[in-house]
Symmetry: C2
Subunit: 443 residues, 2 copies
């Protein structure tokens, strides 16, 4: 039985228990969310039952992550090879860095050589849920064995999905909402950047070349069957996500979202966990409306956003562009943030990019959790404020998102007073303690 099916019959699974404990909330909150569809708990049965290699048993498994309404905003980090760069060692190092800096989930987006091998190594070494985009493997293998992506068969695609589900992948991005009908909408829309979803472009290329409907849409029940068997959470991909501000919130994007809403209900009926992916490039003022639209059209299914990136010109600094949009999206109700690294739009990220990307997204999620009223979020800031008032630098470092960096940066410039090198003897905290002194007993 899937976590959704268990929840619907009122069973508090060990995964629900652990996920609730990790957030210090009642298991019933997660149970309720799983049952009504506003929460997912990605946990492939082959992951849970120990389908992983030796390496994972040496690691402390992180508690399962529940993603949804009322819960802490979660952060995903994308890693994986490209055809030209990346290696097993580098991707495992990126996995390690992502987990060390607090990613709640990791997606392996490998498109280079030996996709199955890299995926299995990542699964074997990851203490957090792993997501993939199976069409990458199907497309890459079709290119290799049949000469072109467009020569992929529907069976190839479902074979890749089945293989990955069996391997223990916890959630998969499937671009089921691209249909022959939405493709016509796309053409009539006349976009500036057409389609920037890699998986979306594979499927659209295939559909246009073969003149056939998207197998993920046409054979959606076949997909649901696999997902239910292994309790793979479906992440309904937004192949029509805008790749530029000019294309945001257009008819192609919203048409796809309507289709995804219908597919969410079919997944629920089949007992399958499901979330919905969202933009993308989008100006700040459209973000809240997009979140509301997803929540309404998809009946409250968790919303998993990439960014949103609030400007197109941030190359080199798109972790910031995405943190801006991500904070606003999460504060408006988005549940899951896909990080963006400083190398977005420039090249494949390296481990340092992964670190910075994770921290920027966690910062966004945390700032939103304060607004959402998530348990413990504002409390952490209050503790930090009190540590600052006390000039307690160790507590400040401990409470920060990157304790190691905080310690290093502060200790670089010691001053004679307890203050930092920004103000030294002119520290406002110090001065106020002396002249105002009203807070000493409260901190």
């Amino acid at each position: 039985m899937t976590q959704r099916e268990l929840a619907k019959e009122g069973t508090v699974s060990p995964q629900i228990q652990q996920a609730a404990q990790a957030e210090d909330i009642a298991p019933e909150l997660i149970l309720q969310g799983l049952a009504d569809g506003t929460t997912v708990l990605p946990a492939n049965i082959n992951h849970v039952s120990g389908g992983r290699g030796l390496a994972s048993r040496l690691l402390l498994l992180a508690p399962p992550r529940a993603i949804g309404r009322g819960l802490r905003t979660k952060v995903n980090a994308n890693i994986g090879t490209s055809p030209d760069f990346g290696s097993m060692d580098t991707e495992l190092e990126k996995l390690r860095v992502a987990v060390e800096y607090g990613a709640d989930a990791v997606m392996d987006l490998s498109t280079g050589p030996d996709i199955p091998g890299i995926r299995r190594a990542i699964l074997a070494n990851s203490p957090v849920p792993i997501g993939t985009v199976p069409v990458y493997q199907a497309a890459a293998q079709a290119m290799e064995s049949r000469g072109a992506i467009v020569d992929m068969t529907a069976d190839d695609l479902f074979a890749a999905i089945g293989e990955q589900a069996e391997d223990g992948v916890d959630f998969i991005t499937v671009h089921c909402g691209i249909t022959l009908s939405s493709l016509e909408r796309l053409k009539r829309q006349r976009r500036v950047t057409d389609v920037v979803s890699r998986g979306g472009s594979f499927l659209i290329g295939w559909m246009l070349h073969n003149g056939k409907e998207n197998p993920l849409y046409e054979q959606y029940d076949r997909l649901l069957e696999i997902a239910r068997q292994y309790d793979v959470t479906l992440s309904l991909g937004d192949g029509m996500r805008p790749g530029s501000l000019a294309d945001a919130t257009d008819r192609a994007q919203i048409e796809e979202l309507i289709v995804l809403g219908e597919l969410v209900e079919r997944a629920w009926e089949a007992g399958v966990q499901v979330m919905v992916e969202g933009p993308g490039h989008m100006s700040l003022d459209q973000i809240a409306a997009n979140v509301q639209l997803e929540k309404k059209l998809c009946r409250g299914a968790p919303f998993y956003v990439l960014g949103p990136l609030v400007t197109d010109i941030g190359a080199g600094y798109d972790h910031i562009t995405a943190a801006i949009g991500g904070t606003v999206a999460a504060a408006a109700g988005a549940d899951f943030l896909c990080y963006v690294t400083p190398s977005e739009h420039l090249g494949l990220p390296d481990p340092e990019d992964v670190k910075v990307g994770v921290i920027a997204s966690r910062l966004a999620g945390h700032a939103a959790d304060i607004v959402k009223g998530v348990k413990g979020a504002a409390e952490q800031d209050l503790q930090m404020a009190r540590a600052r008032k006390r000039l307690d630098w160790e507590a400040q470092a401990r409470l920060s998102l990157d304790p190691k960096h905080s310690r290093e940066a502060h200790s670089q410039h010691k001053t004679e007073s307890g203050a930092c090198s920004m103000c030294g003897k002119f520290c406002a905290m110090d001065l106020m303690e002396k002249y105002l002194g009203v807070t000493a007993n409260r901190c």
Copy 2:
């Protein structure tokens, strides 16, 4: 006559002309804003008339910057020594970096040795408007010559202001809204982080120790006289700005803002240009309300915000925390963003911190300008989107906020196809061009 007085009598000054040209707008828009107070154009007459040293004549002077309603959101970079760190050379290097990466103004916040010497060097070398906080000099000199900040006299303070105005400083932060009355409000508020404004803490310490009213409030007309004589733009400081989320939008902060609103009107009556400073640490959901409050209480005077920082726990990454808040603030109407660097809450920034801080703030301002509908903002993104679609990497670099970095990062990992190393032969742009091919003639 000040720029405000000139505007009120309908004179399009050379500064208005140049500022309008820089933004490709009608001079009348700036003239109208200066006359009704919604715009400032910081331009000390001793700056404009060439009161600077040889170095400035060797530099191309940047056009004057108008700050206010309907105009591009401007960015300020803080530099300056602390008692323990920083030097003439380092500060001039920070100035160079700030200007190179696009700061519209620079504030010299030096509190180390020889404050006047550093300021004059910065003024002599800066192509952009320079701001200061004169109470720093008065306090540091009082500590040196009289033994303590609290032994500073009101005359000391006005002497520092007069000296800096004569030197050519374009705008000064003056914490005029701290009054004995608002201090009582502060005490009754029982804050977590009391007062984190350095200048504010100097004045509050002085007021509490001496049991006297704030000279900047009590002798506001004396301040206005100096400001009018040199056309120094007053930046009414928020000494009560919240230093933690817990203290945001509290009675002390809003009481001070009410006082500043009254002082804005008195400045206008005296022909003096004036803007208002704002928070600070503040959760995302309070930002728009704070901007509206400033605009209402201060009758539309330009709003100059520090951040806002949307969480307290971002040490090491507070340029991101501030970019999030800054985007939302500017989109809601804030006119001028004071950058925050990655070293905020940890120590004095170095030139690399200055670079990153300026870029993060420019990114925030730009993302907001798209929402504000500022001329040319969305157009830049559209050009970028078209360059991406064409896989034109040189145009992408040129249109980005940091062209040098974009070129370097992209060229690090060349692929055989024209695509970047993220997707290589699986580039969505490429695939769509082949199969969809609808946009070729539009880009």
